[in-house]
Symmetry: C2
DNA sequence: ACTGTTTCTTGACTTTTATCAATTGCAATG
DNA sequence: CATTGCAATTGATAAAAGTCAAGAAACAGT
């Protein structure tokens, strides 16, 4: 692994407070691998052998069942995933695939569990990371159960717009079908939800979306910090 | 706090591996309080001052938004809740109310955070508990996004039946309206879902439900261990 | 620039779920 | 034992979301 990448991983909140020795023991047995877009990284039901970290690119976490499939999260660098399965020495509950050319760091699960037992600071970092993950999932549940599809889209656009510096222009970094799956609707219904939002100043051209009247959209969306704010470290 | 109750809390996985000294420091400043049914214990948005533990009775975790309300979980003794908010020193994402006469143990949040820093074994227990909570929430998301209302009910009945020793008889420990909110449907639709399941040998009288043909129900429900199995410690 | 492929959109229709209103049925109360 | 109160059900209707099929728009490769 390149020193530069090592540093980026080291800078992750999860690893930042780790003792020098602990980190040095993880590094040599971990793999940083490059994957093309669309590669299936892990499958739900499999044993958790490695903790994964998106170092570059992006990764989709999704789940299947009842002959359906749904996106649970879309991860940007630098984010660790499937931490809970690794810690419980259990099977994955979600599958993961790359959304573009990506570099993924894989750390043997056994080493992570060891490090947790030996390094108190790391264990505390883990607690924070898991608490963050838990609360993120609670927000996803609330978003799903308390809102209609159009409300979810409206709030999603408001969040994305803010992340972009409130320019009123959003460049979708992925396909609409993925956005649909993430929002829990069919692609057809996502199109219709966009049409509904036209009345609130949302223009939608292929992969660029313009939010002209954030105030009007706010009214419809009724954003809620206890759902929409991303969990800070 | 009575010694007997103290022991029950001590026996919780979360506290079992805690050092003697750490536990002794928590105990005297914690309150074990008795509440009647329907008491609002915490409100989403409030600062997390205490870690709560259901010692007796039962507690509903629910969330509000967009002028709707939904049940996220129903907790039986002995379970700690809102651990994540306490650890992150953040606001609650869910509200909680008692569902019957209950006794709730309240431990000052600050003490929990201190204990985590000082007691490595406790910190590790916390990691396990949070990982468990995270995975439980993932399952709730999957249940919600991958299944129809009738499928959710069918699977819920299968789980409840198994928990009851597969006797084919389920005595609901709460009202149907709560079950509806938990499943994410209106009470009216829950009734209709029950009617649909009649064809699969489900009889439904007030608060007792009979599952006559679990095999037929299985076929419809398509149970899935990665959704329905409860997360073990 | 053309061709084939894929994503996205649109329309018609069905299914699922919610809403509103009314009724039933149980259980507690006096 | 009637009465009251509430949970649960039922029916009618509306809204939301899914499905299927077709067309339009973007994209990749030649």
């Amino acid at each position: 692994m390149r020193d530069q990448d090592l540093e980026r991983v080291r800078a992750l909140p999860l690893f930042a407070s780790m003792a020098e020795g602990t980190f040095d023991r993880l590094a040599p047995t971990s793999y940083l691998q490059r994957f093309p877009s669309g590669v299936h990284l892990i499958s739900e039901g499999d044993e958790a052998d490695f903790l994964h970290v998106v170092v570059e690119g992006s990764v989709e976490l999704f789940a299947s069942g009842n002959s359906r499939e749904t996106t649970v999260a879309i991860l940007q660098p630098v984010t660790a995933f499937i931490l809970a399965a690794v810690l419980k020495d259990s099977v994955y509950l979600m599958s993961a695939r790359t959304l573009e050319n990506s570099r993924i760091l894989m750390i043997p699960a056994e080493l992570i569990r060891q490090a947790m037992e030996e390094d108190g600071a790391f264990c505390q970092a883990m607690v924070r990371e898991l608490a963050r993950g838990f609360r993120t999932m609670v927000k996803i549940v609330k978003n799903q159960k308390l809102r209609t599809a159009t409300e979810r889209l409206a709030n999603c656009l408001l969040v994305m717009n803010e992340q972009n510096g409130s320019t009123g222009r959003i460049d979708l970094p992925f396909e609409k079908r993925l956005l649909a799956s993430y929002l829990g609707v069919t692609p057809e219904n996502l199109s219709r939800a966009f049409k509904t939002l036209e009345a609130y100043g949302v223009r939608n051209s292929r992969s660029t979306i313009y939010v002209d009247e954030p105030n009007g959209l706010h009214e419809l969306a009724q954003p809620n910090a206890l759902i929409d704010a991303s969990e800070e470290w």
